[in-house]
């Protein structure tokens, strides 16, 4: 399979040159192929969230090259980065990050709006995504009227509404009980089986064990990168 993501000697340094300099990413090189299921695991402060931000084009590395599908991300304009976040990547966050003033349907429609899709098609696509997560009956509700698990399913529906080739999930089960967390992970597996590249960021070794490949970060450096048997908890 082709290299979808290629990090070459990536640094993310805060306060460079100062005594208080922090190297969140310290010379990271990593290649992720299309269709992989990768867990990036590390303790808090290991740099995994910075990793996710860089991978998700939310943040620009201080140094190093990031090739996404062969394109050097550092050379892209804000508009092009926005387009990549919109079309190529679906984000799932620990805190769901739904907009509270919008309904479930409107939240899922949002990335489609930014894509410029017409209202009718948008409704169809959003409903299809909500149907996949089993929430097509609750489209008029506000996120605050739902349980955490349901909110995360809405967030997943929003992430998959544009049918992106990459899903990035940052501690997607962190705020959920183990049963609903399990459902979320199972859903990510399902997406991966359908061909989506999934990058899962977690501090939990048990959750990392659900991925076929596990990349361990410590102090901004990759200390382990191994293929593993998928282990269900």
């Amino acid at each position: 399979m082709a290299n979808l993501i290629e990090l070459r000697n990536i640094f993310k340094i805060y306060g460079e040159g100062l005594e208080s300099e922090v190297r969140a990413l310290d010379g990271v090189s990593l290649t992720i192929r299309q269709g992989e299921f990768v867990a990036i695991v590390g303790q808090s402060g290991s740099g995994k969230s910075t990793m996710m931000n860089v991978l998700g084009c939310l943040d620009i590395p201080t140094r190093g090259d990031y090739l996404l599908a062969g394109t050097d991300v550092r050379e892209l304009t804000d508009k092009e980065l926005s387009r990549i976040r919109n079309k190529e990547i679906g984000f799932i966050f620990q805190q769901y990050n739904l907009i509270q003033t919008l309904t479930v349907l409107e939240n899922v429609e949002l990335p489609l709006i930014y894509q410029g899709i017409k209202a009718d098609d948008r409704y169809e696509l959003a409903l299809e995504a909500l149907d996949r997560v089993g929430l097509s009956k609750r489209v008029k509700h506000k996120p605050t009227e739902m349980s955490g698990g349901q909110q995360q399913r809405v967030a997943i529906a929003r992430a998959i509404a544009t049918k992106p080739p990459i899903i990035m999930a940052d501690e997607p089960t962190g705020a959920l009980d183990s049963r609903t967390g399990h459902e979320v992970l199972e859903f990510l597996q399902q997406l991966n089986r359908e061909g989506t590249t999934v990058i899962l960021i977690t501090h939990d070794n048990g959750i990392a064990a659900t991925a076929r490949r596990c990349v361990r970060l410590t102090d901004g450096k990759i200390v382990e990168d191994k293929e593993q048997e998928v282990d269900w908890f």
Partner: protein, 423 residues
């Protein structure tokens, strides 16, 4: 993201915080209402004044012929030295009909008018603030005029005949009534042939003029409440030598040019050792009145504009707060693909809508303000013109766009990562 989506989002956000939105709009509401009221009342008043001018007839030239030397006559009264130049001026004006429609003295005759039991000395009048109308009866103005007064003042006869040159020459004791004066003394009866007593002298009514103002315009006007006498009646009824005259130029003829001709004629006529003349086109007075109105409008409008500026700054302030409060939302939107321009559009539209709604409320209040202020200040009902209304709405939206741009740009400059981290 298209505008319709942005409008929908902005509408939700405004409705989501009704109380705050209302307070934010208050500055714009007050500003727009003030501007609307001031501009409309001033322009309405100017328009009504112009209407009255043109009802009396435009293209007029005022002529003063005065004496600065007085002599004692045979009765021991002090009278202006030198001769009365009016007949010469009258003849001159008649000789250039291609320029001049007519010439007439402008002089009040201080006389008491009696017909039957009606005596102008007993008339009482006032103003009813509740109905905003004149009450009682204002006594008619009595003027000494030439036979050309009607031509100078857009008057047409409906009954009987107008004053003639012979009435002047022969000292005829006749008069013609304005429509209101006719109604006051004769009601609906035909006044022609009836005899009025002016200071005890008999004057026969020979004609009645048609009203110049009708309907509500006429209600509070005394423009048609007058009695005209041939100016030679002064011999019988008394009064100083007439010094003020009105010349009416033909339509399309420059009043300045006619004034120059008259000035030239009078300079050659008047003995400069005893008197002089002053000739001035009336539209100059109209012009200066217009300038004054413009000045007042400018000053008041400026004050109102400052209040709008303050309102705009209020909008900017609240939009900045909104951006801070919604930093996380901005982060989410950026993460799922919103471009900077989409964020700018969203907040700009929200500011423009806030101001636009404020503008609409301000226009409603301003319309009411026009009605109230027009009635209180000028006793007339004034409504804002369509162009003022459209302008006010457009301006309020523009205000939102101008003052919303800084917060909107600030929102779009937020880094997605930083914004997502916000609580």
């Amino acid at each position: 993201m298209n505008i319709r989506q942005a409008v929908k989002m902005a509408w939700k956000s405004i409705l989501g915080k009704k109380g705050r939105s209302m307070l934010t709009m208050l500055g714009v509401i007050i500003g727009i209402a003030a501007v609307m009221t001031i501009v409309s009342v001033m322009s309405g008043y100017a328009a009504k004044t112009m209407e009255q001018f043109s009802a009396m007839g435009s293209n007029k030239i005022t002529v003063n012929i005065y004496s600065y030397v007085y002599t004692e006559d045979e009765n021991g009264n002090w009278v202006p030295a030198g001769k009365d130049y009016f007949p010469d001026l009258y003849a001159y004006c008649k000789s250039i009909p291609q320029y001049i429609v007519g010439i007439t003295p402008e002089a009040y005759a201080s006389v008491n008018v009696v017909y039957g039991t009606k005596n102008s000395a007993n008339f009482e009048w006032g103003w009813d603030d509740a109905t905003n109308q004149m009450t009682g009866q204002y006594p008619p103005d009595v003027y000494y005029v030439s036979d050309q007064y009607s031509a100078c003042n857009n008057l047409t006869i409906t009954k009987g005949r107008d004053l003639g040159e012979l009435d002047v020459e022969r000292y005829n004791q006749v008069c013609v009534l304005g429509s209101q004066a006719a109604e006051v003394f004769f009601g609906s009866a035909d006044p022609t042939g009836k005899v009025l007593q002016l200071n005890g002298q008999n004057f026969e009514v020979v004609g009645v003029y048609a009203p110049r103002l009708t309907g509500s315009d006429a209600q509070n006007s005394t423009i048609d409440n007058f009695i005209l006498l041939p100016y030679t009646a002064r011999r019988l009824l008394g009064g100083d030598r007439i010094e003020n005259f009105t010349v009416k130029a033909r339509d399309g003829v420059s009043t300045t040019e006619v004034a120059t001709r008259i000035r030239g004629f009078l300079n050659g006529l008047i003995d400069q050792s005893t008197g002089d003349s002053y000739v001035s086109p009336d539209d100059r007075w109209q012009q200066s009145m217009n300038e004054q109105m413009g000045m007042i409008s400018l000053v008041l409008g400026g004050i109102a504009a400052i209040s709008l500026l303050v309102g705009g700054i209020g909008i900017m302030n609240i939009m900045l707060v909104t951006v801070t409060e919604r930093t996380r939302e901005i982060g989410i939107r950026r993460a799922i693909g919103a471009q900077r321009s989409s964020i700018v559009t969203q907040f700009l539209i929200e500011a423009a809508m806030l101001c636009g709604i404020g503008g609409i409320i301000g226009i409603s209040i301003g319309t009411l303000g026009c009605y109230v202020a027009g009635n209180l200040l000028f006793h007339m009902t004034i409504y804002p013109s369509a162009s003022v209304t459209a302008g006010a709405l457009g301006f309020s939206v523009l205000l939102g766009l101008i003052f919303g741009s800084y917060p909107a740009i600030k929102a779009s400059k937020l880094q997605p990562v930083e914004a997502l981290r916000a609580e």
